[in-house]
Amino acid sequence: MSEPATLSRRRLLNLGLAGAGAAAVAPTLAAAQTPDPLIVERQEWTQYLGEGVNAKPYGVPSKFEKEVVRREVEWLTASRQSSVSFTPLHALDGVITPNGLCFVRHHGGEAEIDPAKHRFMINGMVDKPLVFTMEDIKRMPGRVNRVYFLECAANSGMEWRGAQLNGCQFTHGMIHNVVYTGVPLKAFLNEAGVSPKGKWVLAEGADASVMTRSIPLEKAMDDCLVAWAMNGEALRPEQGYPLRLVVPGWEGNMWIKWLRRVEIGDQPWAQREETSKYTDLLADGRSRQHTFLMDAKSVVTNPSPQAPLKSKGPNVISGVAWSGRGAITRVDVSIDGGKNWRSARIEGPTFPRAMARFYADFDWNGQELLLQSRAMDDSGYVQPTKDELRKVRGTNSIYHNNGIQTWLVRPDGSAENVEVS
């Protein structure tokens, strides 16, 4: 049974208020003085016939949702082809990211590949190097469906030195969470017969960056997938159509798109994407390498700078949490900048290495809020503050920023990305 409203109201008030603001937001319960014309007058959508059943053979969102799109930040990169766009997290709910809104990171633009012309090769330290067509791949036994988040290693990377971008789409939107259909990479490696000396796998893409990453064989044999579908349909071209690698819980760069080859070797290859890039420079001038795992992280998506509060009274704080170490077990929410916390409700399916949705229902009296969320996973890891991270890493590591995000919500309901002491 759910808690009575009065009790939850009291519990929230007990958290302590961060200063009561002026009541700039209109109350919601104004009684109607005149009949609502939307009710008492016949509307055109009720009067006239709408479009037929197949007017849009592939459906698109309502025109009233046209702001819900991926966006880019042009100053981030030198070219549009080696760049990133961001998932509109503030406008989404649940846990599954719609295919057309999944953030995009290319290094050589979007390859457009005819699946009939795609080949997948396995070579290196194997008994028998092999070539597969897409038809062969879809005939492989052991097909699975798995939900995983894919987070760019650089997600929130622009925030290391302080609050910079105003909106969770930009600060946290290099992530998506979909159902993949594919076959374990292990099945393909077994087919080729990995040499006992094999310790590492090089995965390679077919796009114009010919992207490569070294992956420990142990991971490849554990839960990596060779996937051709997302959310029930073929991969989108921008997500690697017709074939991509799925590397659960690990940084997005390793999820090679347009996967054309895996090679077995006895040591890592020190490719550009694991030396010059995707290494984490610390304050002492040395760098971590092979920082594959994405640690537990969360963000409040509503309210947030792109999704202000509109009314006093009942409101829902909502957000997402995820961890590369396993399943999210708990998310705490603070409205006073981390002085006091209460555990939010995790709602909907939760899977290991997948995104979880959380809600904290609350009554807002118009006071200023400093909103934060703090994720915990089943390894016992607790999402750190940005300052805790900076204490260990400095401010130049670019990648793996999973620090707690703060939104300042003002009495007028508008929100801003801020840092707090």
């Binding site: 090769m121 909106g167 550009r272 030396t275 890039k277 002492d284 920082t291 801020v418």
Partner: protein, 224 residues
């Protein structure tokens, strides 16, 4: 055969569908890769030199190639044009407030320069350079970083393994250096005395906005 017997026989056939056994058994799917096919795609080079093709190239050949194929983005001396990557310089800058991470200052292995230029450069015309050209360009980039003299000729036989920052990397150690992030019972009430706002994104104002053109905003940090 009676109708029902026929149906029973069909059912028996259906039951006899040979479901594939354990996943560990080989399926025979795919076909052997031919040596020419492996050679065409497997061009990766490891730090120990495994994968280097035959060939050689000099600093001066590399300089000429660089001016034609690379300098429009990377500058005549690898200094980088606009936001395009800087390839040379940045020596001793890794501990500074604004590190300059170049081949000479940051990259650990020479092999990566060869491999990456060969596979992905020039940007927009990948896999167009022949091995001799890649040797020459690698030699020139090394020369720009004061690592080899201007009369140097790079080849498979004298290919140096290490760059100056080779020892500057170590494997992920978060499990030990960040052990304090595993907390049994994180604080829930009265966790700090006061909270002050120490930074505002709106003051920097570099977020894309449909209402304004802020392409020229100067960010404090980008991604690469």
């Amino acid at each position: 055969m009676s109708k029902s017997a026929k149906a029973a026989a069909l059912f028996a056939v259906a039951l006899a569908i040979p479901f594939a056994a354990a996943a560990a058994e080989k399926t025979g799917l795919g076909r052997p890769a031919l040596p020419e096919e492996v050679k065409a795609w497997d061009i990766d080079v490891r730090p120990d030199g495994l994968g280097l093709p035959d060939g050689k190239g000099s600093v001066s050949e590399g300089e000429a190639l660089f001016q034609t194929k690379c300098s429009a983005c990377h500058g005549e001396f690898g200094e980088g044009a606009g936001r395009w990557p800087v390839l040379a310089g940045g020596k001793d800058s890794l501990k500074s407030d604004r590190p300059e991470k170049t081949v000479g200052s940051f990259w650990p292995n020479t092999s990566t320069v060869f491999d990456y230029v060969h596979r992905a450069m020039p940007f927009g015309d990948a896999l167009s350079l022949k091995p001799d050209e890649v040797y020459a360009l690698t030699a020139y980039i090394m020369n720009l970083n004061d690592l080899v003299p201007s009369d140097f000729v790079l080849s498979k036989d004298n290919f140096p393994k290490a760059l100056p920052n080779e020892k500057g990397f170590y494997d992920d150690d978060r499990e030990t250096t960040e052990k304090s992030f595993w907390k049994k019972d994180p604080c829930m009430t009265n966790c700090k005395e006061k909270v002050e706002i120490t930074g505002h994104a709106a003051i920097l104002d570099v977020t894309p906005d449909d209402q304004k053109d802020n392409k020229d905003e100067k960010p404090s940090a980008g991604v690469e």
